[in-house]
């Protein structure tokens, strides 16, 4: 479903992605993990082309776009590709001039041209799923961090994208809610939605990801099945990174 | 103020309001100096009063308002003597006479008299009372900001005629001898302009009248008149 080849991305002089390959099969769930500044968000944004790679090939579904320095991109192809993806941003990016429910309806009304009633019904249903039906008419400015994040998730899910990209989808959620949202995402995964998520929450990654990619300094250090990466990582660096979780988890677990 | 004249004498200056953009009456010559018929008359009057003339230049709209605001003592700017103005201000005896002329394009043979203006477009500066004349003749008014614009309208065919005074027209023809406009008719009665001052200063009006008489008597007036018009324009 997703096939990235030799993606390079620089901001000015600063190379941020240094030749990344990524394959996600239809219905696959891939977690991007790695230290801060490693390029997770940038890679994610390269998938739906909010960031244009300096070079490399991006393929999502039927759409395949090749990038080379100095070559123009076909805007129609970009739009085509984007229409198959939904995204949850690290800082939510709700539309501040619309209520929660209007945020969720926006894509249905404007892009898919659904009638208002139907869009509203679906939006309410999604808000209910993330536990926010009671805040449907609230403005984003009056929502707590976790509430904003859940609206953002509902908004991304509304047009039933084939591919869902999530940048830290549970960063503002308490463990309980995080559990619920993870359940929603896991169910989507089961229903066949392809998912890529950048996350620090290794437990989330462990729970719903089939594959894990460990990204550091713009390079893939290790990639493989989730169970394999978590249970027997092959690279020393991965072992070290994963161990922080284990230690902390153990410490907390042990205490309880 | 009854002591208007006294104040002027003690200050040693007669402050005169004028436009400074109305050739040949009040304008600036190539060197930038304020000159013109009205300006020189003003200087001559001040001379006779035994004071210096000081000119303040402003737009027509503000000229008479400046009189009310006591920014100057008199306005000398081709202010026509009319009943309406007399109700609010005092005038000296007239110091110049001019006649309204009807100006049309050279190739226009349709309009020959003021009466022919009926139903025609006449370009009129809003600062003059020629507009009223045009209106009374049945013309449709096209308002402009000045004589030069009225002529432009005439030349571009947006107006059929304009009424102005014969002296301004002569000045214009002197500057632009090639302009394709002509006088179609001249009004029989002359219009008179005077020095206008605030009410309640009979001594000042009298002194100005005396000064006018004096400059006419000693030939000063004749010299000025000849200089600007090549004729005596007092009647």
């Amino acid at each position: 479903m997703i096939n990235l080849t030799a993606i390079e991305k620089s901001f000015g002089d600063l190379p941020v992605l240094k030749g990344v390959d990524l394959v996600v099969p239809r219905g696959g769930v891939t977690a991007l993990i790695g230290p801060s500044g490693g390029g997770k968000s940038t890679l994610l944004r390269c998938i739906n082309l909010l960031e244009l790679p300096t070079s490399g090939t991006v393929e999502v579904g039927e759409c395949r776009i090749e990038f080379r320095p100095g070559r123009k991109v076909n805007q129609k192809a970009v739009r085509e590709l984007r229409r198959q993806t939904g995204m949850v941003f690290q800082n939510f990016q709700l539309f501040p001039h619309q209520t929660a429910v209007a945020n969720v309806m926006e894509g249905l009304l404007t892009v898919l041209k659904w009638p208002k009633d139907r869009a509203h019904a679906r939006a309410i249903e999604l808000l209910d799923k993330v536990g926010l039906a009671h805040k449907a008419d609230a403005w984003p400015s009056s929502l707590s961090g976790g509430q904003q994040q859940r609206v953002a998730i509902a908004r991304a899910l509304a047009p039933e994208p084939k591919v869902l990209l999530c940048d830290e989808p549970t960063s503002a959620l308490d463990p309980e809610l995080s559990g619920e949202v993870v359940a929603v995402l896991a169910q989507l995964a089961e229903e066949g939605t392809t998912m890529v998520m950048a996350t620090h929450d290794l437990r989330l990654a462990r729970q719903i990801a089939h594959d894990v990619v460990f990204l550091e300094a713009g390079k893939v250090v290790e990639a493989g099945q989730a169970s394999q990466i978590f249970e027997k990582p092959s690279q020393a660096r991965t072992v070290q990174f994963i161990s922080t979780l284990t230690e902390q988890g153990m410490a907390a677990g042990a205490g309880i | 103020q009854a002591q208007g004249l006294e104040r002027i004498k003690s200050a040693g200056v007669l402050k005169i309001g004028t436009e400074g953009t109305y050739s040949p009456f009040t304008y600036h010559d190539k060197s930038g100096a304020l000159v013109g018929f009205d300006v020189e008359i003003g200087r001559a009057i001040a001379d006779k009063l035994g004071v210096k003339a000081e000119f303040l230049e402003g737009k027509w709209d503000g000229l008479i308002a400046g009189l009310d605001a006591k920014r100057y003592d008199a306005v000398i700017n081709q202010v026509g003597i009319t009943e309406a103005r007399k109700a609010k201000y005092d005038f000296s005896e007239p110091y110049i006479a001019s006649k309204a002329v009807l100006i049309v394009r050279e190739d226009n043979n349709e309009i020959k008299t003021f009466a022919d203006l009926k139903g025609k477009k006449s370009a009129q500066s809003l600062t003059s009372n020629f507009g009223k004349l045009a209106q009374d003749s049945g013309a449709e008014l096209v308002g402009t900001d000045g004589f030069d614009q009225s002529i432009q309208l005439l030349l571009t065919g947006r107006a059929d005629a304009t009424i102005n005074d014969n002296l301004s027209f002569l000045d214009f023809k002197k500057q632009k001898p090639d302009a394709k406009v002509k006088i179609a008719a001249t009004q029989a009665n002359a219009d008179y302009s005077g020095v206008i001052v605030s009410k309640g200063q009979p001594d000042l009006v009298a002194a100005i009248n005396d000064a006018l008489k004096a400059i006419k008597a000693d030939g000063t007036y004749e010299t000025i008149s000849q200089k600007y018009f090549g004729a005596n324009v007092s009647n």
Partner: protein, 226 residues
């Protein structure tokens, strides 16, 4: 009845009539057209191809840089020399539209770029095209900041239409001048004209306020970004 009041009452009719006939239609038409031109110009400068953007910059530079009066003069008295003879009202309309377009394009450009880039991205991420993102997401947010400066331009325009008098459009201020020419009471007539302008702009000020309140209510989005 004092003289000034009587004069004011007598002149009210002609002034209002001139306002209704010329000032108001000229203002409304040229603002509507000018705003369209301004939006287009702003979008070209922000997103258009370089050569087109350069042309727009030139347009804004010329129009903002020269007096409106001179522009009107050139359109009305100058164009005939190259064979274009416009009537006064269309000439004024063109002049004012070009002016409003140049000034508002700068405002619109500024407020569009004040909308966080992330809002464009959010719009794209749910599948919107560029025009959709602009219309549904960016412009509504930009509008809030744009209203006061745009209404500056609008309210200035109401009064600038008086310059149309210079090219023979008998609008409100010219009507006042005509009466001044026979009554010699510029102060009284001008104050009266000013009061009528004030009434017109008050309507606009009230609209501005309503609009601001409505846009602010939309989630008081000052906080939203906080």
């Amino acid at each position: 009845m004092p003289h000034w009041l009587q004069l004011m009452l007598e002149s009210l009719g002609p002034l209002l009539w001139a306002g209704v006939q010329f000032t108001i239609p000229l203002t409304l038409l040229s603002f509507a057209l000018g705003l369209t031109v301004g939006l287009a110009a702003a979008l070209i400068r922000l997103f258009g191809p370089k050569p087109l953007a350069a042309i727009v910059r030139f347009y804004v530079w010329i129009i903002r840089g020269t007096p409106l009066l001179v522009q009107l003069f050139l359109i009305f008295y100058g164009l005939p020399s190259i064979g274009i003879l416009l009537d006064a009202f269309p000439a004024a309309l063109i002049g004012f539209t070009l002016n409003v377009g140049a000034y508002t394009s700068e405002i619109i450009r500024a407020v569009i770029s004040s909308v966080p880039k992330g809002q464009w991205e959010a719009a794209y991420s749910i599948g919107m095209t560029w025009p959709q993102a602009l219309r549904r997401t960016v412009l509504p947010q930009a509008a809030r900041t744009a209203v006061p400066p745009l209404s500056n331009t609008f309210i200035s325009l109401v009064k600038d239409t008086s310059l149309a008098a210079a090219i023979t459009v008998p609008e409100l201020f010219q009507a006042a001048q005509r009466i001044v020419a026979t009554t010699y009471e510029p102060l009284i007539l001008y104050v009266e004209a000013a009061l009528i302008y004030l009434a017109l702009s008050s309507v606009l000020s009230v609209l501005q306020e309503r609009l601001e309140i409505r846009l602010n209510r939309q989630g008081g989005f000052v906080e939203a970004r906080a």
